[in-house]
């Protein structure tokens, strides 16, 4: 299996209308350089619930902050989720109770409080300007 691995990413994976925009996603609070970050961009709640990503990226972890850029994103409502595959096993590790034990997060820095945020908390609109969005990793 070939994996797309970039340090700072600029993706143009789709041919899209001229009105398409750029989504710049800043991930902050990365604890160390080990492993990779897996990031997914979803268009619309249905796709999010189905796990059907509009675009995906994998980047090398970098302590502190990194930025992922999704280019040519057509207008609509979107959400991003990601996890830090700290041990490079290509999996989002969880404990026996199914609770995450690796870092993860969502667009809008949507808060995790006794459970994951709703899609509404992490959604953002793409229209005719560049979107800049941020999240701090939950470890």
């Amino acid at each position: 299996m070939n994996f797309l691995t970039l340090s700072t990413l600029s993706l143009s994976l789709f041919i899209l209308p001229v009105s398409a925009q750029t989504v710049q996603f800043n991930i902050e609070g990365i604890q160390h350089d080990k492993g990779k970050l897996y990031i997914q961009l979803f268009k619309g709640e249905n796709n999010f619930k189905k796990g059907k990503a509009h675009n995906e990226a994998i980047v090398n972890a970098k302590k502190g902050q990194l930025t992922v850029t999704f280019n040519n994103v057509e207008p609509g409502d979107y959400a991003i989720r990601y996890f830090h595959d700290e041990n490079s096993n290509r999996d989002f590790d969880n404990n026996m109770f199914g609770m995450p034990i690796e870092g993860y997060g969502f667009s809008n820095n949507a808060p995790v409080n006794f459970g994951p945020p709703s899609y509404q908390q992490m959604t953002f609109m793409v229209s005719n300007v560049t979107v800049i969005n941020s999240s701090t990793v939950n470890y």
């Binding site: 619930k49 796990g51 006794f114 994951p116």
Partner: protein
Amino acid sequence: MQRREALKSMLGLSVAAAACSPFPALANLASANEDIMAQFATSFDKAVLNNPNLIGLKSMSGDIPWQNLTIEGKLPKALRGNFYRNGPAVHQRNGQRYTHLFEGDGMIQHFNFTDTGIQHRAKFVKTNKYTQEQAADKFLFSGPNSKLPGSLPVNKTDIINAANTNIIPVNGELWALWEAGSATAIDASSLDAKGLVNLGENTRYGNSLKGLAFSAHPKIEADGTIWNFGSTVTGDIVLYHLNNRGITQKVNLLKTNYRGGMLHDFLITQNNILIILPSLDRDKTDERLFSAIRFNNSLPMKVLVIDKNTLTLTREYQVDAGFAFHFGNAWEDTDGTIRFDASLYPNCENLHHMSDLMRGKTSDATPANTVLFTLYKNGSAHKQTIAGISEFPRVYDHLTGLQNNLLVTLSSIQSDVWSDSVRVINVNNGKQDTFVYGEDFLVEEHVIVDNSHQEGNGYLVGTALHVPSKRTCVNVFKVGHVSDGPVCRAWLGQALSLGFHGNFLTL
């Protein structure tokens, strides 16, 4: 896992995290428009002015350095060692107060029994939560029961692990225990927190045990073998077998579908683990953890019998509806008949009483009695109630999982607020030897200290808060002569917040 599969798994696991969290999903946490915690603080501050008994529920202001205690009576020469206790000691910050007694940050009380007397010191468990909130001088995180407006994210239970319920010795260090998260390792010399214990580290379990609940009531056999459980509100129960150095040997997950939300204690026998599921339901419209728990009289208590060798369920019993925080001991006859005792409540009023107390309201919650259960091989069960109010049961350490004749409990004779007495019960004939401290005292758990491995020998050691003088004392009784009163009492210079559990490590 392939990239797409790994990414795809995120949604499922995130949802699983919510479903399996020991705490309910508090979707509207940040938008709560009523600051209940502020209301509790106002109410308590007013009530404590008129009810001196509430001083045991005030917060401690900080660590306490070593102090020599003033001794009355004579400290027995045979009693040398370290007595550690743990309990919640920050209930209130910056005009906000937790809504349940179980939520405050843990503080370790250390009493050192030496040839020169008894010294005491105390130190808060420096969890990440405590450290951050102490620096901010305000609460930053919601608790299991307390909805803090604008709480920082709580993405796993250890974020709010208060390490406040028990403290046990493990392989030269101490573990401060909480109900719904990891143990916190404590340096036994400095009482400094060393970090959360990852029970799978350096074992075949790796990180799969990271952050799992490890209950505050592990059972430790005479050879140091540790058994424990952890549970979630969805009824998943993890069972642990650790060796005497705290290294995980065996783990298994039981999916019980129990939704009562409160499994506080458990038992072992020589061959089995007993998980007792009390008669509780949860009110799904209530987002809080403890406040949502309801007693359901139509639900029998279930006793799950789990083989220690395989950690799998082998039998299940049903007994009358009831609820217990604490059990003393269990053991089994050669024919497989299982016997155990419980400080059994007829409902769960006392759980909610501990929320009322936090706002300064005393109530008449129905107390517990010691009840002796017998589970026969044919599936039938029998119970026998021993007279008197009962809580914080203890047996001799060397008899954990084996037949005991004596059971130590606290009791209440004059007080309707807290325990006011300690007693030793002979479970064979019901005979009781009781010392009543009196209603001026708030009496805490008493532990048995004995190196002879002979029931009736040794000492009882426990703390009590003397309300009129606002001082806590540690008391020593001869187990065989409790009603004679303490042979030694040592006074601190101040009152300590009421705590929960602890242990005495003899030299």
